[in-house]
């Protein structure tokens, strides 16, 4: 019975699950489609359980850092643990409607504003990335500059105010060469995805299960 501990069993499971879910997409047999949907639901449930692995990973790291008084880290670990416990426990108090006041407060005054601010920081990054990356170092990068600038002048209200031709040119770049370039990248990716799936379903690639 030592084979059951080996890597062939998980590879077999990958193959069977992958095959059923793929085939169910193409055929009209209720039994297969039903099994496929069940497997997908299972995957969702298992992934839900996996959050516990994340909790273990993070709580171990932060409680270690508090125990060892890791310099520059442990006060933040305290912050982490306090907020994490408060958010989780208060959530479980009212799991159906999630209306516990502590939960709602943490949600709308820690989570939400930080999420918005974090997303907005991209505004800074896009500026520095734009002027740095659009430096023309060779002929290829000149193409980046020209197409990037034209599209920006199409989007910003000020572009049309400078010259009416900018939106027309920018639109053409988006509609013609960009669409075509995007198509080619998509086609290549499509083929690549299917072949990667094949390699994994057939068990050629098995480092991820320790094989």
């Amino acid at each position: 019975m030592s084979w059951i501990r080996g890597k062939d069993v998980p590879v077999g499971i990958v193959f069977i699950c992958g095959l059923i879910v793929t085939v169910a997409y193409f055929i009209n047999v209720p039994a297969v489609v039903g099994v496929s949907e069940a497997i997908q639901t299972w995957a969702v449930v298992i992934a839900g359980f996996a959050i516990g692995l994340g909790v273990v990973n993070m709580v171990v790291f932060h409680s270690d850092s508090i125990r060892k008084r890791a310099s520059g880290q442990w006060p933040y670990s305290v912050v982490f643990l306090v907020i994490f416990v408060a958010q989780t426990v208060s959530g479980f108090f009212d799991l159906a409607a999630l209306k516990n006041p502590v939960y709602v407060w943490l949600y709308s005054n820690i989570f939400s504003p930080l999420a918005e601010a974090m997303y907005a920081i991209l505004g800074f990054f896009i500026v520095s990335a734009a002027y740095r990356a659009m430096r023309v170092r060779n002929i290829e990068t000149a193409f980046v500059l020209v197409s990037g600038l034209l599209v920006m002048l199409t989007n910003a209200p000020i572009g049309a105010a400078i010259w009416e031709g900018f939106p027309i040119l920018g639109k053409w770049i988006l509609d013609v060469p960009t669409t075509a370039g995007n198509r080619a990248i998509f086609i290549g990716t499509g083929i690549g995805t299917i072949l990667l799936g094949l390699r994994i379903l057939l068990g050629y690639e098995r480092g991820y299960i320790g094989g």
Binding site: A97, V104, S112, F124, V127, L145, M152, I158
Partner: protein, 293 residues
Amino acid sequence: MGTESKKPRSVWERLEHMDPRISYWLLIFVIVVPFLRPLGLPISISKETQSFYNTLDALRPGSVVLFDISSGPAAYGEIGPGSIAMMEYVTVVYPGRHEGGRLRIAIVSGGEAEGAIMYEAYARPRLEKAGFQYGADYAWFGFIAGGETMVARLADSIPSLLRNDFFGTTIDKLPVMKGVSNYKDVSVVIVWDSVDATAWYVRHWGAKGVRVGTVCVAVEIPAYITFYRSGEVFGIIGSSRGGAELELLVGKPGVGVATTDTLSTSHLLVIILIIVVHIGLLARKYLPSTGKR
């Protein structure tokens, strides 16, 4: 390129490899100024926005609106102005123009689990403030998983998917949902969209004759314009620019109008920075004194 600076450099080289932090402070500056002193660049109302307003305005009081919040707080910067203006319209302007009559609103979140946050933050407070009764004027069903499949099934049978509202009340106890069984009982669909959910409604509801209005992010506009031309979409409030237009129509100029000016100034900054960097680059290359490093 890093901020961990290397050896002393010439002026031109410094221009070419500008510290990003300088550009960040400049960006803040060019955004703050138009907020304090609006430039007042004229904003023309696009056809898509005007049609959004007119279509809603033509609905009879008591019409059922399916309202899908498929965007999270992260997209708020773009969706926000349009969504605030839309809520203002639904809660204040519409009743004012229809002798106090209200629309019946069924709110779901089909594309984005974080739609719940948007509901709590931007929809519910405004509805409550305007005196809308939960259950009688509107109902909230929370996030419903399934994406496009869910949207397709919803068209055929609303009660089978929206069995309970978010708080567990069954649908037959909600007066607002009385007599609503499938797409035929819904007048229009409105989507706050940052995840392509409008396209789902167009494919499954639009094809059956229920028109869709969308408050969407900038990247989605080109695709939805196509639907607008073919008639499935009745209006598009695109990004903060569209929000600005709706604000003007509703008569409450706000964030959107103010933001439109900053868009012009900040784009201009990016373009100027690109030019400055190239001045540095060309000078370093062609001015003999500076050398090539």
